[in-house]
Subunit: 338 residues, 2 copies
């Protein structure tokens, strides 16, 4: 059963509302907050990217290829296709001795206006480098080249690289990821439906290092540092994850995924947070995530202001007139810790 | 209480789902189908545009200014800002002796790639002509000029034009529209929260002419003909409303609004249909509308194929691989007629 998470108001009335589930868990699996059904399987989509990037670092491949922190951040990214994102993905491929033709993520237009404008003004069409997942795919290519695997078909579940990264995500979350809970993601790699609680647990462990091989814990720390130092690369200027990490640095790791899935890791508190908006709306998952971060993080007044803006975004119309807002429901925001 | 309307699948599993309400009613107010709470007030947003356009036609203003059918279709439109949409809005304003500076809808980028490309390639920024509501606003300007009203502030509830068009919508739907259920729409005109049943009733009457002054019934017929002859102007190439009306001509009038509101008028059956997706998702409102149209319309095999594609759209990823689909829930599609 889903819980009532977020309301959208207009002129003081509720115009729309969002249901879903949410959980906060520590690295030992102790649940601190729950709303809705946190055991029902949900597809992890792009929320899990940082876990898939662990093998690239922990095997030493990233070091052998000389990947920068910006490049590691892009390996964890769902980006908006601006020139800096495309350039960074191209640079990763060059370090692996490859070119963009090897990418199997497919092509779509940049989602940011600046990214679109750059292509239009250059008279160019988008390439796979502009796909929001190009950094993750460039990371897979780097890992495959370092392994000595053939590249072709690296998105298939049976490919060595896909088995390697899936095993890392399955180990971190403690969830089964096999042909019984598998589907195909937007960029053609497999995505697995796992309990929301398990996804949150994976990100509690990603922040705390609890129960992991030292190489993995170190890899997680390095990825978190890379992302914290490059919050624009992991999403894009003005986007939720970028704003949160610009405000909190290493204290908050935040990552969205398609269809309203969103994760946060709070390393200082040793907590993982996961939200699934049942209808797939990112706007509601963001509000719910911001509300849960506000509840569990130690924030300065400036950080609180950012959280509050993310938690209660004002809706303005095309003339800049305030017409409504999003807000967590009172039941959700005042829900008891379990 | 909302009903379960639509499911989104991935790899055979339900990934997301949408709740909401839906109603089919005849012009006498007899309810043929209901799901969810059809008496709860919902903002009508752009779904009501065709009712707001009635005074422009029934007063004779459209004829005195020599508005074409294409221009009347644009007065009912939420368009994607392609050159044809902007040109048609500009032409309406010229016929009223005005220029685009008088529009009070605000400015946003075209939502279609072709509309964006046209501006980028011309090195231009968007104007109010590219606002999806520019045709509706040009219609208000035409009406105000024909009335001899001052233009400034025509979007305000107390302006003569806004009172005139609101009264038409209130009369058609039988719903109260005043300061007690008012908010501000995306384009700055008032929008009113009325029962979904009343909205559907307005569109049953829009198709049937039942209980209306002959001038109004004739105006409604003229607007429906104008839209049926110009389905690309009322939305845009490839969009749901355009596809449905390209397939059905005068037999189906269909209009979306923001936040998951959608109406249909079936003049041959004398029925009005309205759907509100509770979370505001257009994708789900479209599936539910297509399912209800399929249930009540007489369709040829070619028309059935279009309805089926709209009712069960396949989701493909960036490589064109089929990854999932949308579908009405079995409860919704097999729901009993009341």
């Amino acid at each position: 059963m889903d819980a009532h998470l977020v309301e959208v108001t207009r002129g003081g009335r509720v115009e729309s509302s969002h249901m879903g589930s949410a959980v906060v868990v520590d690295a030992d699996g102790v649940i601190l907050f729950r709303a809705g059904d946190i055991e029902a399987p949900v597809f992890t989509r792009s929320a899990v990217k940082a876990l898939l990037a662990l093998p690239l670092v922990e095997t030493g491949a990233a070091d052998r290829l000389g990947l920068s922190d910006a490049e590691l951040a892009l390996a964890c990214a769902s980006h908006v296709g601006e020139p800096v994102h495309a350039r960074t993905a191209a640079s990763m491929l060059r370090k692996a001795g490859q070119d963009p033709d090897c990418l199997e993520c497919g092509i779509h237009w940049p989602t940011s206006r600046a990214g679109q404008r750059a292509l239009f003004e250059a008279g160019q069409e988008p390439s796979a480098l502009h796909n929001n997942c190009s950094g993750k795919h460039a990371g897979f290519v780097c890992l495959a080249c370092d392994n000595g695997d053939t590249l072709l078909g690296y998105v298939r579940p049976e490919h060595a690289v896909m088995r390697q990264v899936t095993e890392a995500a399955a180990h971190m979350t403690g969830a089964r990821m096999d042909e019984n809970n598998r589907a195909i993601d937007g960029c053609s790699i497999p995505t697995y439906a796992i309990p929301l609680r398990a996804l949150a647990l994976g990100f509690a462990r990603f922040g705390s290092g609890t129960g992991q091989h030292p190489d993995r814990a170190e890899a997680a720390t390095r990825l978190r540092r890379a992302v914290a130092a490059n919050p624009v690369l992991v999403a894009g200027e003005g986007r939720f994850d970028t704003r949160l990490m610009q405000a909190f640095g290493l204290s908050v790791f935040s990552k969205m995924g398609a269809e309203g899935i969103h994760v946060v890791s709070l390393p200082e508190q040793g907590l993982g947070i996961a939200v699934k908006c049942a209808d797939g709306a990112a706007r509601a998952a963001e509000v719910a995530i911001a509300a849960l971060v506000a509840r569990h993080v130690d924030a300065t007044p400036a950080q609180h202001a950012v959280l509050d803006a993310c938690m209660r975004p004002v809706l303005r119309n095309w003339n800049g007139i305030e017409v409504g807002a999003l807000r967590p429901t009172s039941g959700f925001v005042h829900g008891k810790r379990t």
